[in-house]
Amino acid sequence: MNPAALVPAVPATDPLYAHGVGLAVLLIVLIKVVVVFGALMVAVMLMIWFERKVISDMQSRIGPNRAGPFGIMQTLADGIKLFFKEDLIPERSDRFVFKLAPYLTIIPAFLAFAIVPIGGEVTVAGHTFELQLADPPMGILFLLAMSSIAVYGIMLAGWSSGSKYPLLGSVRASAQMISYEAALGLTVVTVVLVTGSLSTRSIVDAQALHFWQWNAIRLGVIPFLIFFAAVVAETNRPPFDLVEAESELVGGFHTEYSSIRFALFFLAEFMNTITMSAITVTLFFGGPDGPVPHIPHLYWLWPILWFLGKTIVFLFVFVWLRAALPRMRYDQLMDLGWKRLIPLSLGWMLIVAGFLVDGWWGVAMAAATVVGGVLIARAFSVGAAREEDRAILPPVGVRVWRRPGDPASAGPEGGDGR
């Protein structure tokens, strides 16, 4: 994988490069990269601690409380421990791919954060730059590209383990991530339509100043809800964590991993959670937008605080979902994705596009969506009625399949003499 693949040849909006590249500019880029990297690592550490603490609070437990104040260093201790664990590679594994897979998971997780606008503009020593690692013209497509690359890590991890349960987990993972990517993309399209640009900075700027300009409100709440559901599925978090369903698949795709490779998968998962929260804030909640009090020299701080605050809200929602909801069944997951979220997001996209052209077009599109929705619902109910009779597993507690209300098939052998 080559991350340079997604680099804009000409930085479009970041004024940093307009003056040519001097040492100072290079230094600024370097500092940005190092700061984002470090901040993400620390954020992951805190996120794991936060999740464990919140979950234990919700379950009336104490949670980590030994390492550091409030157990805040617990993750660091776990990380150090994992470094010194034995690194096992199964005999039947594909060694190269087995070693490659954790990196394929974690690199997209890191890179996707590059397009998130963290704050406003800052001027340091005559150089004005945006608090954002990169603002490529392809903007939000970069996120979609990275999330489609993230599939590989999990898929290959499961396959290369040369073992049954990881393979099942990775097959589930890739099917799930591909399915929900469609709904994810379609809701992103509504945001792009209403903004008129792909760049994340433009998306944030278009939502500035008033909270009713935020896309979550301006687009109707539906796209935001679909997006968030798709994001939860995309990050394989509960209630969509069938990929690593302990009760069915031992540990899913990472069953055979140990030591630091195992830690890398978890680093990537939490990194993805943070990135996706930040992206949700960017796309639907105005990013760093919020009231800025007039305090000299601290004008740059408030947008960052707003951004962090909003992101933490969504991080909490991620944890909350894990504590509150049971894991879905696989067919429920696929039903939700294909039969509900994708048609709904498609219809909503049509409505938004219609209203952008003209009010009457919007009404027409809404009507078309309703008609299409009714047709699809009818088709689903017909299909479901057919599926019921073809259920592979007989219902629990009934030894012989019998049709309700049909005495002919009520015999012990199924009634047809076979």
């Binding site: 994988m1 680099v7 490069y17 791919v97 099917a175 792909l198 199924g414």
Partner: protein
Amino acid sequence: MIATLLLVHLPAVLAVASHPSTVDVSVFAVASAIVLAGGVGVVVARNPVHAALMLVMTLFGVAVLFVLQRDDFLAAVQVIVYAGAIVVLFLFVIMFLGVDKEENLRVEPLRGQRPVAVALGLLALVGTLVLGSVSHWTTGAHAVSGPADAPGGNVALLGRSVFTTYLFPFEVTAALLVIAVVGAVVLARRPPATRPEGSPGAAAMPVPGSGEGGAEDADEGAPADAEAHPGTGAGEPDGTGEPDTAEKAPAAAGAAGATGQAAPDVTDAAQAAEGVAR
């Protein structure tokens, strides 16, 4: 990791820092090396999964080349569609069918195909070079419909061309894809199982209009299903049954369709499809 994040910026910095042509040439050289190495790897790799990964590498190289042409939209789409969807489906099928075994490359299924391939490749290379240098096929222009760094960028340009000048080809392509998907689903989903002695509606295809009739047939076949399936269902550790298969139908469509046509009993076809999906 820091180095990776830095790489995001590197070409942008270089592009402005030094003479553009040197940067262009060096990026082109590196990207071409990636593309070529990936392409050779696809052919040489013994394991189909490795070959698919090499294909991903090639696609990334092509994406870099798109970026070099200032078409970063196409680069992103290249990664999303080809690397993110199509090769993933390749891998899917490879994993499902269990063909991810090392192959002996010395066995030639078609005799003499290698010399012919080399000869055709050389012919294509020479032809391209000759046409490029002699004729007017290469103009050297970076864009045909306007400057790529115009306001709105090439996304706007691309959108305008696709929805005005090239609207008909675009829509026809869309229709083609829809037809392919519908065909795959129809092939993969055989009519509901019926008794071997056969009821009149046994061969009814699952068309939307015949909902009641199809359900009726399925009723007739239900006991047979219940008998036939527990064996397969119990052997399936993740406990996902038919819906699972149905959702993955497009991926496994070709294989399932082929098996289904060969199998006389429809229940067998369903089992075959399930095996593929597993």
